[in-house]
């Protein structure tokens, strides 16, 4: 057994002495497989002609042990659709398919893979997966669920990192401690947005500051341990972990690493940009003022009338005190004064409901003018939605059942005892950097394993460890430990190169298998844990939406920038919580083509989800989601058949197809090509003719049916 303490030396840290009670708790559980250093296994001597990569030998060896054999190779058309959808989130175009089918060179597939991995959509595809894990959203969550106007820079940072082929150890360091390790690097500062991607409760009134801070730290600790360690350290918040050798003290040591941090939005805009903004903002406010004044003017008599009526209801004492000047009131009168103020206060709806109809309409018109003016609001200077160091680090205590009111022993910042119990600096500075360096050590038994498993999971449809956020006792065991360790070793020796791993996986024979179900093999391994066939995978709601836009020719492939709002059904608009006036809660972009951006760029509001996306199991951005569940139910069918979005796109696709040619057969072929990148079979052509010519159904109904089809929504 080799333990992970070696890593400590190379980052200049010392292994802390582990408390004997904690040591007793950990004991032999230190020998658990996931805590062992990765040793690169020898590639098995199996495979023969089938094997294309070392991966295949490992998979084949495992299959043989179960008396399974691999499936045949998928057709070229299936392969290009599969690998394109996998690596870019969109199906290929017809011309890309044609070119690939024509290319009979031995390197045709490899060239295709290289092109896809180099495409801008590659990073977008990865971002969708990564943001699920870190639970990224553009709003705070909870009741007010306010927007985080600068948070999207982290989303763009993730896309750019994957596209640039950033080594994963660097990617990790930037997200945990970009501010400390790469001072002056704006991207690294933005990367720390990872630590605050989780929901946060922001509300007025008397709240318990210490509890709020605990909640923030708790979410950070969860994010770090789920995302990078693949451990459920959060389970040790209230007590020692029930299944894994993680002590409650460990939880608070990790929390102490984060406790010297604070949430901040430092400017990354230049001074000139900020000055320019100040000037523009002042001018903008000056344009708003006359409209706001006009609204106040309209409301004035009604407000006065309502307030008078309320004054009449006051007790004589309350009424009297309203007339006394501020400096003349006794403390008792002050109390009465505040009460009286509260009692005569008016809410917006009281005022608006009491306005005469003509004034109400006039006021509404003015509000519309204001909202119109919002579009010209100057863009705020760029800031990083970041985490930086605080000047002081409060002492971190172990908390009895996680309750901040019941403090137990203090703890020093440090990492997991089972992995050597290394301590972090006691100064507020350098704690996160130490954590990042410890995790990014090539010898760390979990960091690279966890990511290698994710890469495999995202491409193959299931992880070697089926619970990618939990490598502990309650998580699943690796279906093929040797394969996982080989992939991990390869990942580290490639320089933590995600693109290289992706290429390795998608060029393997395992990946290129047909997905056809074989009853005899299914009887042995129904869940395909041994990869005797390729898994078909339903597209995520986001990818379905994007693919529909591509088929209709409307997709706006513009990358990056502030999140975009798309039209909301009135039923969904109604669930946006506000106690204020519910107008202009969802201003749509002036340029309609913005609403046809990829789903990744749509505003991700935690409490107001887009029905089509949630129906297809889009996660809630509240919990980390390492594997999206795939449920099948009637509301999905309703969304895909009847939502205004789908209808609009079906019509647009019909128009696109009609423009291409006139006769029915030609249009049917064009529609098949746009949706499925192939021509219709004889049977399909007959069905289409019957629908369009015999039954005289409109083309938009035909295109809608096409994009509802299994073939359209599944990665083959």
């Amino acid at each position: 057994m080799r333990n992970f303490v070696a890593g400590a030396a190379c980052v200049g840290l010392l292994a802390a002495a582990v408390d004997p009670r904690e040591e007793a708790f950990i004991g032999t559980r230190r020998n658990y497989w996931a805590f062992q250093k990765v040793e690169r296994p020898a590639v098995p001597a199996v495979g023969g002609v089938w094997s294309k990569t070392p991966i295949d030998a490992f998979v084949l060896e495992a299959m043989q042990a179960k008396k399974l054999t691999p499936s045949g190779v998928a057709s070229k058309r299936t392969l290009i659709r599969r690998v394109t959808m996998d690596l870019t989130g969109l199906p290929p175009t017809q011309s890309e398919v044609d070119a690939f089918l024509k290319d009979t060179s031995a390197k045709a597939y490899e060239k295709l893979v290289d092109r896809l991995i180099a495409s801008p959509a590659y990073g977008e595809r990865w971002a969708l997966k990564w943001l699920d894990v870190v639970r990224y959203a553009d709003t705070n969550g909870y009741e007010l669920d306010a927007e985080r106007p600068q948070a999207w820079r982290y989303r763009d940072y993730v896309i750019q990192s994957f596209n640039a082929g950033k080594p994963y150890d660097r990617f990790l360091r930037e997200q945990l401690a970009g501010d400390e390790l790469y001072p002056g690097d704006h991207q690294a500062l933005i990367a720390t947005g990872f630590l605050r991607a989780a929901p946060r409760h922001v509300v007025g009134g008397n709240t318990d500051e210490e509890m709020n801070r605990q909640e923030v730290l708790l979410e950070m600790t969860l994010s770090v341990s789920n995302t990078f360690l693949g451990l459920t350290v959060g389970c040790a918040r209230c007590h020692n972990h029930k299944f894994d050798p993680i002590t409650q003290a460990d939880h608070y040591r990790l929390q102490a690493v984060l406790a010297s941090s604070k949430l901040d939005e430092p400017y990354i805009a230049t001074k000139e940009e900020r000055l320019r903004y100040d000037d523009l903002a002042m001018k903008h406010a000056a344009r708003e003022k006359p409209i706001k004044d006009a609204i106040a003017e309209i409301e004035k008599p009604t407000r006065a009338r309502l307030q008078d009526a309320k004054k009449k209801l006051l007790t004589p004492e309350h009424r009297a005190v309203l007339e006394i000047g501020k400096d003349k009131r006794t403390p008792a009168q002050d109390v009465l004064f505040k009460e009286a103020q509260k009692q005569i206060g008016l809410s917006w709806d009281e005022v608006v409901n009491a306005l005469p109809a003509d004034l109400k309409a006039k006021r509404a018109g003015l509000r519309r003018q204001l909202h119109e003016l919002d579009y010209e609001e100057p863009e705020k200077p760029a800031m990083a939605f970041a985490v930086i160091n605080a000047e002081k680090a409060p002492v971190t205590h172990i908390l009895k059942i996680g309750d901040h009111r019941h403090k137990l022993d203090p703890v020093e910042p440090g990492f997991l005892s089972v992995l050597g119990g290394i301590e972090a600096p006691k100064t507020p500075q350098g704690r996160r950097a130490a954590l990042a360096n410890w995790m990014a050590d090539p010898a760390h038994p979990l960091t690279a394993r966890v990511m290698a498993n994710r890469i495999w999971q995202f491409r193959m449809g299931s992880g070697i460890v089926p619970t990618p956020n939990d490598f502990g006792q309650l998580g699943g065991r690796p279906s093929n430990r040797k394969l996982l360790d080989w992939l991990t070793a390869e990942f580290v020796s490639s320089g933590w190169n995600v693109k290289a791993m992706d290429k390795l996986i998608v060029t393997s024979a395992v990946y290129r298998q047909s997905a056809a179900i074989d009853a005899a093999k299914a009887a042995i391994d129904n869940d395909n844990r041994f990869y005797w066939r390729m898994n078909t995978r339903r597209l995520e709601g986001e990818a379905i939406r994007d693919s529909v836009l591509q088929a209709s020719g409307q997709l706006n492939a513009k990358q990056f920038g502030a999140p975009v709002k798309t039209p909301l059904e009135p039923e969904i608009y109604d669930i946006i919580f506000t106690e204020g006036e519910p107008d202009n809660l969802w201003p749509l972009p002036k340029d309609k083509t913005e609403t046809y951006r990829k789903s990744l760029y749509l505003l991700n509001k935690r409490t107001v989800r887009l029905p089509m996306l949630t129906n297809f199991d889009q996660p809630d951005a509240i919990n980390s989601c390492p594997v999206r569940p795939v449920s099948t139910h009637a509301l999905q069918a309703l969304s895909l058949l009847n939502s205004p979005f789908m209808h609009e796109q079906a019509v647009a696709m019909a128009a696109r197809v009609s423009a291409a040619c006139k006769d029915v057969d030609c249009r049917v072929k064009a529609a098949y090509s746009a949706a499925l990148q192939r021509g219709p079979s004889a049977v399909e052509l007959k069905m289409a003719r019957e629908f369009l010519s015999a039954k005289k159904m409109p083309l938009e109904d035909f295109t809608k049916a096409l994009v509802n089809r299994h073939e359209f929504v599944y990665i083959p």
Binding site: F243, E339, S631
Partner: protein
């Protein structure tokens, strides 16, 4: 599900394919036989033990009504009116007040009702008529003084978001007997969503299929139920037929996911006629409508939703979540000021419909196995806010149960002389949830889901079932 399905039922299912081919019908049959459990997350499941209740209607009063003004009379408030809370009570910090304000007696008179003599104030002239069907639990308490976290706790057991709501857990545990309707239905106030918003009916870390489905009255009660404007039912039927034929071309034997997908279109088609029928109250008798207050303002709107609740549970819906209040402060029970105005208005909208629902369920024999819950996120303080209002009281509040095994005419738990704290047995939201699950035949410890390394439960580390509610 039973495997002794009758031959005639087989035929019904096989011929119910409406021209969509045998595959969907075969799938539905297999589903009924329990042969394809993994592909159908909403199939009805057998509870852990014999249930007293088979379904739930949860009436949630948004903003927190004041129990000491409705059900829990406190004569001491009159006696000590205008005085401060005795120092022995300690410092009571609420969301907007700090405990320094004076005691405010209830502006309403109380009387006892029914054979049981349950007290109600004049705010409940109708619900008080159902006193003998109601079990009041007066000493619930919660952990947050702020609306949304407290709402999350009533709904999901935790003050943080991200946990499944009770409706999601129940649907996960029991599935649904309504193929043509969503299993878990949510009806918010038309003026706006409750402060907690969608996390109140979310599925949290459970699959999204268990989340509450919003439903409203009218011809298109469920989002995207009807074809878009200009698309006739005939066109849609033809489109579906074409689609299902194409989907069959795409399906291979043994592919349960594709089969489930074909069936989902079939169910969607059925839902298109079933849902509008379920929310169409036109055929209800004038007497029934009047019972719920549909014939007059201000009860028409809430009465309509409660009548829909009855129609939905009749059709197999498992869990109906209804919010009274939401949107602007003036349409919530959140009486920080003008307690009288606020509660007269909110009770005026809801009292008659709630009583109507109880009476109607009883008359139809549905009350026996339908659990009706009336509740909120917390209660209100005995001290005043702003002279004529009340701030939030998480230390004690009343929720009540009717039907579904709850013992009517009973009071469980008590509060101190001012109604500030519970005394004796106090009940956490975990106890509330454990009790509801128990009535549904579900063991809180057997209903779990592995999430992030933990077998998560609605009741977290466990609640205590409150036996006095039902035995």
């Amino acid at each position: 599900m039973s495997s002794s399905i009758s031959p005639s039922r087989r035929n019904v299912l096989r011929t119910a394919a409406n021209g969509f081919g045998a595959l969907a019908a075969e799938y539905l049959l297999q589903r009924e036989l329990g042969a394809v459990p993994s592909a159908n997350p909403l199939a009805a499941k057998v509870p852990h033990f014999a249930p007293k209740a088979k379904r739930v209607i949860f009436l949630f009063m948004v903003g927190a009504p004041s129990p000491i003004d409705m059900f829990d009379p406190k004569p001491a408030l009159k006696k000590f009116a205008g005085q401060k809370l005795p120092e022995s009570y300690g410092k009571i910090i609420s969301q907007f007040t700090d405990g320094s304000t004076t005691l405010l007696p209830s502006p309403w008179e109380f009387k006892q009702y029914g054979q049981s003599g349950l007290p109600f104030s004049t705010l409940s002239p109708h619900v008080s008529q159902c006193a003998d069907d109601i079990c009041m639990v007066r000493s619930f308490y919660t952990e947050s003084v702020v609306h949304a976290p407290a709402m999350y706790q009533v709904h999901s057991g935790r003050i943080l978001t991200g946990h499944p709501s009770m409706g999601a857990w129940v649907t996960y545990g029991l599935g649904s007997t309504a193929d043509n309707l969503p299993a878990y239905v949510v009806m918010p106030q038309p003026e706006g969503t409750p402060e907690g918003g969608t996390p109140c009916w979310s599925s949290g870390f459970l699959p999204a299929v268990y989340q509450g489905t919003l439903l409203r009255s009218g011809p298109s009660p469920i989002l995207h139920l009807k074809p878009p404007e200009g698309v006739s039912a005939e066109r849609q039927k033809a489109t579906l037929e074409l689609l299902q034929k194409m989907n069959q071309l795409d399906s291979a034997p043994g592919d349960s996911e594709h089969a489930a997908r074909i069936a989902s279109y079939e169910l969607a088609f059925k839902m298109q006629s079933a849902a509008p029928e379920a929310v169409d109250v036109a055929k209800e008798s004038a007497a029934t409508k009047a019972l719920y207050g549909l014939d007059e303002e201000p009860t028409r709107e809430f009465g309509t939703r409660l009548l829909l609740a009855r129609r939905l549970i009749e059709r197999g819906v498992r869990f109906v979540q209804i919010y009274h209040g939401g949107g602007p402060v003036s349409i919530q029970w959140d009486a920080h000021k003008d307690l009288v105005l606020n509660h007269e208005k909110m009770a005026g909208m809801s009292d008659k419909p709630v009583a109507g629902l109880l009476k109607d369920l009883k008359a139809r024999g549905l009350l026996d196995d339908t659990l009706v819950i009336w509740g909120s996120e917390f209660g209100r303080l005995p001290m005043s806010e702003g002279g004529n209002g009340r701030d939030h009281n998480p230390h004690s509040f009343t929720m009540w149960f009717a039907g579904g095994g709850a013992k009517g005419g009973r009071i469980v738990g008590e509060t101190d002389e001012f109604g500030l704290h519970g005394v004796g047995e106090r009940y956490h939201m975990r106890d509330f949830h454990a009790t509801v699950l128990h009535l549904l035949g579900l063991d809180q410890n057997k209903l779990f889901y592995l999430h992030n390394g933990r077998n998560e439960k609605l009741t977290d580390f466990g609640g205590n079932v409150i036996p006095k509610v039902f035995s």
